[in-house]
Symmetry: C2
Subunit: 189 residues, 2 copies
């Protein structure tokens, strides 16, 4: 791996790819991107983020304190295991066209209800305190999915506020689905 | 936390609780169990396992080498994010009684097809090489779920073999759903 640039197999719209793109941007890691249209769903990209954290520790995406690290991982897992897999494309295909929107809204709001509660006690500027962490890498792509499914954000002021603060950061902008090499022209911004 | 015994809120049948029970047994951590009937689904218990690993490093559940650690986390996430959340109780309730078995079998076999391929290149005695890791803590409870849903194991010789080897270990036996304080008498063994 040290020999050449790392390669990221990425899909502009995938929230899992986006998490990793943010991590790479935050750590200023130069990489090659190979856009692929069919992505492996699920939270597996968290393994990439943990690997990056161990091999390129600066800036850190996990706090030093074990209890705070556990909070970051709990929030990340809540999103990456508890929400995202239930509203990904392959699941939506299985529930049938006419049920997709209702299904996605239901699983996202159910997860966001728990997340909003947790963030009220853990958040500072970001999900856990005032430093960007792996939890934030999971939050922003999931909020974007929620917006695509027209989830009502009124009950989630903490989620909304943190998301807005994060989207102002360069790493979250350059990694955004609307600015990827495989973003179709009509979705560019 | 140092002041008293840790408390695990556990449900005998939950594969997520079982993962943590195995970790506690492997690390010989004495704990109090509070059985609860309603469990929070998803892979969130991986945060507990990572916390245990950081605060009680022996025996290690993650290999020292970063690439091997990434393999262990990839396999764990494949199960904890890519399979388990799609076949948990709340999702099965949403798909309706008559579709539950087909749904569960479909998501598990789809995940196991990928898992079997991966394990063929990573496995020794266990999921990654010859040491028990977090991946093994995820494998055994998921195989038990697959058996409950009557998944055909013919295409999964590697999964079956590793599972059998792991079930011979003490930590996997004492943590087994059939031997928990809240296991109903008819399911005890």
């Amino acid at each position: 791996m040290q020999a050449g640039k790392p390669i990221l197999y990425s899909y502009f719209r995938s929230s899992c790819s986006w998490r990793v793109r943010i991590a790479l941007a935050l750590k200023s890691i130069d990489y090659e991107m190979i856009p692929i249209n069919l992505i492996k769903d699920g939270g597996q990209q968290l393994a990439i983020i943990e690997y990056l954290e161990e091999t390129r520790p600066t800036p850190r995406l996990l706090p030093q304190d074990p209890k705070k690290r556990a909070l970051v991982r709990m929030i990340s897992d809540l999103i990456a295991s508890g929400i995202q897999p239930l509203q990904n494309l392959s699941v939506l295909n299985q529930v049938g066209q006419e049920n997709q929107l209702t299904w996605a809204q239901k699983v996202i709001t159910s997860g966001f209800n728990a997340l909003e509660q947790i963030l009220r006690s853990t958040a500072g500027k970001y999900c856990v305190g005032d430093e960007v962490s792996m939890a934030d890498l999971c939050l922003v792509p999931q909020v974007a999915n929620a917006e695509r499914f027209k989830v009502d954000f009124t009950p989630y002021p903490t989620i909304s506020h943190i998301n807005k603060t994060l989207l102002a950061l360069e790493a979250f902008q350059v990694s955004h689905p609307c600015r990827q090499p495989d973003t179709p022209p009509e979705l560019r911004a």
